[in-house]
Each structure stands twice: as C-alpha cells, then as structure tokens.
Symmetry: C2
Subunit: 146 residues, 2 copies
C-alpha cells in the first residue's frame, strides 16, 4: 500500500478516470471513462508492485488468468476485431494493464492506440454503469472471494 | 502454424525486424532491430494464437513466466527506470509482446513509446549480437528444453 498511489488509495483521482467493474482474484477491473475505444478498461494489480518480476510466480499466474478473463469478457461484450494490452506506468508505476478493444472501422486500427489520460469521449454515469454491468455479466467469477 | 505469418515462418520479414536471443518455455525472445529504446525486445508465443484467452491455462502460465524472465534480464542488462509491455497485433495477430525499456532521460519517458515498424535507430550486426549475448546471459534457462 502506497500513500500517494491512486490505485492503492482508490480516491477521487481514480474515480475521475475509471469506474469499478469487478474484483478478480489478484486484481481489480475498471472501465476506463474515456471510451474512444468502446470497452476500454484497466486491470490493476491489487498489490503495489512495479514490474512483473516483482510478483511471486503464484501472483503472476492469478494475474494472467484475471487478464485473460477480462479480455474474454470484453470480446463477448463488444466483439472487437482485436484487443490491445499495454503496461506503461513510467510515472504511475503501480502495475496495471490497459485493455483496448480495437475495431477495423474504428480509431487507431493497425497501429498503437492513442494513449492520453484525458477523457476524450465521455459517457453519462448511467451509460458507464450499463457498460460495466454488461462486462460484469461476462466475467468468470468462480472462486473470486473478495 | 500459419503459412503467411512471419512469426511462424521465421523468414526474411522477421529477420529484417529482429534477431533471436533465445528460446524460452513457450515463446521465443528477439532483440528488436530498432534500438531507439535501448534493449527493446519482442517475446513471441511459439504457437499461432491471437488472444490471451485462446491459450490454455498452462500455456498462459508458461508465457507469463517467460515474459517475467525476459523483463528481468532486460532490467539486469540495461537498468532502465521502467519497462513497458504491449501487445498490439491488429494486423500481425500472432501473439507477441513488445518489451520496451524506458529511461528518465530517454525518448518517450512518461508516455506511450512511439510504435513504428521502421528501424529508426539501427546498430551493426556485431552490436546486435553483443546485446543479444548480454541479455541471454541474464535469462533463467532452467528447464528450457527446446
């Protein structure tokens, strides 16, 4: 737990950027408020670690299963042609993955998605909640006990 | 195995972009010929699969261990301040991860790394081989039997 990290503190800084979809085994899945890419989400590791090799082997294995589970739920919900995954975190180093569904007729197809913290395409709170509910319905939550 | 995929065929198209560092458990690690970000590498899954949820749970677990192993070797070799990881593949959909060491005084610090297939900063063949050897020395190859 890091006192200045918004993924640890889950404070207003986090709420400005994302809304929670679900707890998973060793991580939390959020819907990104910028929906330029329909379904864009963030999977944040629960513990404050910086690099994959800082996790235990067991934690890595739960994390990759959570990531696969989240990606599959996005595929079922939005039927994108491809999902992109990225871990950046030069500045916000708490391990988190951007999950970005890509569409052949949509923005950035064939290249890296634009990564800008600004909320370029915002939805209403009701729309965010509806999307989060749809994704939640497609998650496999067997064994998630948080 | 896909007849038109260069990660499967390991042909000239692949050799133009990267050189092999090592086989790992379920993937192959390559040094990216564009060394704009010193140590930039690619980890390609051995089988031709598109999304993480298309792998078996066992294959995913070997893959995340390979990824962690590769990242740790890059950390030991280049001492970056952060490593970025990205799976794009809208067009070249064979699952592969870009591993991009980032440096506080280097390009793209604090943002997404520029992703352009062109080889912007090339090295000599001798320099590529020296870097690949250094990274190879830092890999944990216990149990790799390919």
């Amino acid at each position: 737990m890091n006192s200045s990290c918004f993924y640890c503190q889950k404070d207003q800084r986090l709420e400005n950027l994302m809304i929670k979809i679900s707890d998973l085994h060793t991580s939390t899945l959020y819907l990104n408020k910028d929906q330029t890419h329909s379904g864009r989400s963030i999977l944040a590791l629960d513990s404050h670690k910086k690099e994959l090799f800082g996790l235990s082997s067991s934690e890595r294995q739960f994390f990759i299963e959570d990531l696969s589970n989240a990606a599959k739920a996005l595929q079922k919900t939005f039927a994108p042609q491809k999902i992109n995954y990225a871990i950046y975190g030069d500045v916000v180093s708490h391990l988190h993955v951007h999950l970005v569904p890509k569409y052949q007729q949509g923005p950035d197809w064939g290249g890296a998605f634009v990564h800008d913290p600004a909320v370029t395409k915002a939805l209403t709170e009701q729309e965010y909640n509806q999307l989060a509910d749809k994704i939640h319905q497609h998650l496999n939550l067997e064994g998630v006990r948080k």
